[in-house]
Symmetry: C2
Subunit: 338 residues, 2 copies
Amino acid sequence: MIIDCHGHYTTAPPQHDAWRKSQLAAFREGRPSPEYPAISDDEIRESIEQNQLRLLRERGADMTIFSPRASAMAHHEGDERVSIEWARACNDLIARVVGLFPETFIGVCQLPQSPGAELKASVAELERCVQMGFVGCNLNPDPSGGWWTSPPLTDRYWYPVYEKMTELDVPAMVHVSASCNPVFHATGAHYINADTTAFMQLIQGDLFADFPDLRLVIPHGGGAVPYHWGRYRGLADMLGKPPLSEHVMKNVFFDTCVYHQPGIDLLFRVIDPGNVLFGSEMVGAVRGIDPETGHYFDDTKRYVDAAALTDAQRAQVYEGNARRVYPRLDRALRAQGR
Amino acid sequence: MIIDCHGHYTTAPPQHDAWRKSQLAAFREGRPSPEYPAISDDEIRESIEQNQLRLLRERGADMTIFSPRASAMAHHEGDERVSIEWARACNDLIARVVGLFPETFIGVCQLPQSPGAELKASVAELERCVQMGFVGCNLNPDPSGGWWTSPPLTDRYWYPVYEKMTELDVPAMVHVSASCNPVFHATGAHYINADTTAFMQLIQGDLFADFPDLRLVIPHGGGAVPYHWGRYRGLADMLGKPPLSEHVMKNVFFDTCVYHQPGIDLLFRVIDPGNVLFGSEMVGAVRGIDPETGHYFDDTKRYVDAAALTDAQRAQVYEGNARRVYPRLDRALRAQGR
């Protein structure tokens, strides 16, 4: 089977985003948040069937590890209370999608991070979501939205989340949200920079000595990392660290959200297929059709199909690695006889 | 001939860096800057002969477009006066190197940028350096050193430098300096992020409509851009921009500071060789030997030699493009009969 590890609910019914707007307006005006609106199962069903589900079928994948829209997490908006409410609303909506399409979607949660706030609420929300059947979380290394005011991911600030992740045996995708810094285009700079930055922090630190079972997925093909693999191998050496295969790559995985064949080919030329999870970020950052190929830029399955992989390696990338990195997904699939 | 477009004077005599330290100490204590120390020609000669010149010869390149150490520009330190003094000291030292080795080095200058300061002093220093024979400048898109407080490169804030560059017919390499934000490792994250960020800003804006002759070199192989070339083509399309070949790539060039063969192969698979300048950043970010090849990571000539290029394309990358992007270099070479 083919599991897409990176899908966001970018097509949620409009009431959901309208509520967020009114929630932020209420915050600014010092009023309590409005009540969350009614959204019918049919509305959710339609928003999925016409978008992600249709594209999954057209492209030939079987299921998606599904999380709230990343660019809308916007942890920099409001305060911690606002983020807690918003994360719950977003995650509850994902839970409803999974409830309606249990064979096609499984949940990954947004955390109620807030710049400068401790991670207690994130730990609680992760626990709540895993109890609802979620299999992982998205961890934002920059809740300030482009001002980068949090410490590196190797800092003890983040340890409460890592401890809970380890206890629950769930991975995190390291994924920033919107940028409110005008220098950084969200999907064209901030996302890719964050991936690159996170990887370099992991080289500099020694996080996996403290958390040998922690698993982090760095999306968008690992940012700039595979393209500059020689630079990272060399920097690890200069910093006196073990080879990347031992120091980082037992715990770090990249997805295949790289929107052209040469990029995917490079990815598999330098990164062990055991560290790569199929992902498309669909419907997401880049929605158009590539005039050079006539296919959607984000139809990454085409590139993976065309990559120089053995059948066994391709099966790892499409299924085996996801089941290994997200063991709760594996258990859910087994319970379905898959 | 083989021209390396990206070399920094990372091996300057120790008095130079010691003076910088005492300059910053004086600034903090409200004292005037100390006098710049005496550095003999022999000391400069030795610092070059044992390092850059030796490596150029060993690796088989002919000359380097040479600029002050990028990580030491540190525009975030002190104030504008401090940056003006430091840029002059650094550039004057480059001028001395070029004077001692006129067939091997040609200068590119550091600008006296300072967070929040207008660019008048940078314009003046650029003019002074070009009068000394320099052929380009390094432009720091983030003089705050990792806090990203300046506007995007397409903002009118930067126009005075672009106007002077156009008037003098010199390009800029877009190059950040050290990071004082602990999340960003300088050479492992900040450099690469800045390259990616700058390119995306150029997609979003329309800078080359205002400056059709402006030329920008984005170092480190263009950051993450070639690896994510499909993403950038798709984002340009989503933003309603012309194809990248028209919108950006008439004015933007990447170097070959990518420290492994697969990265260089990708670069040439997606980027027109007419947009790529040979560069090594030597002696620079990554100084070790790659255990997989037995050669220096930053011996990028080996990768370019092994890349799938025609002889004509390789000659462009090694020489023709540099002479075209840096016309004052071309003139200087012609005056030497080269």
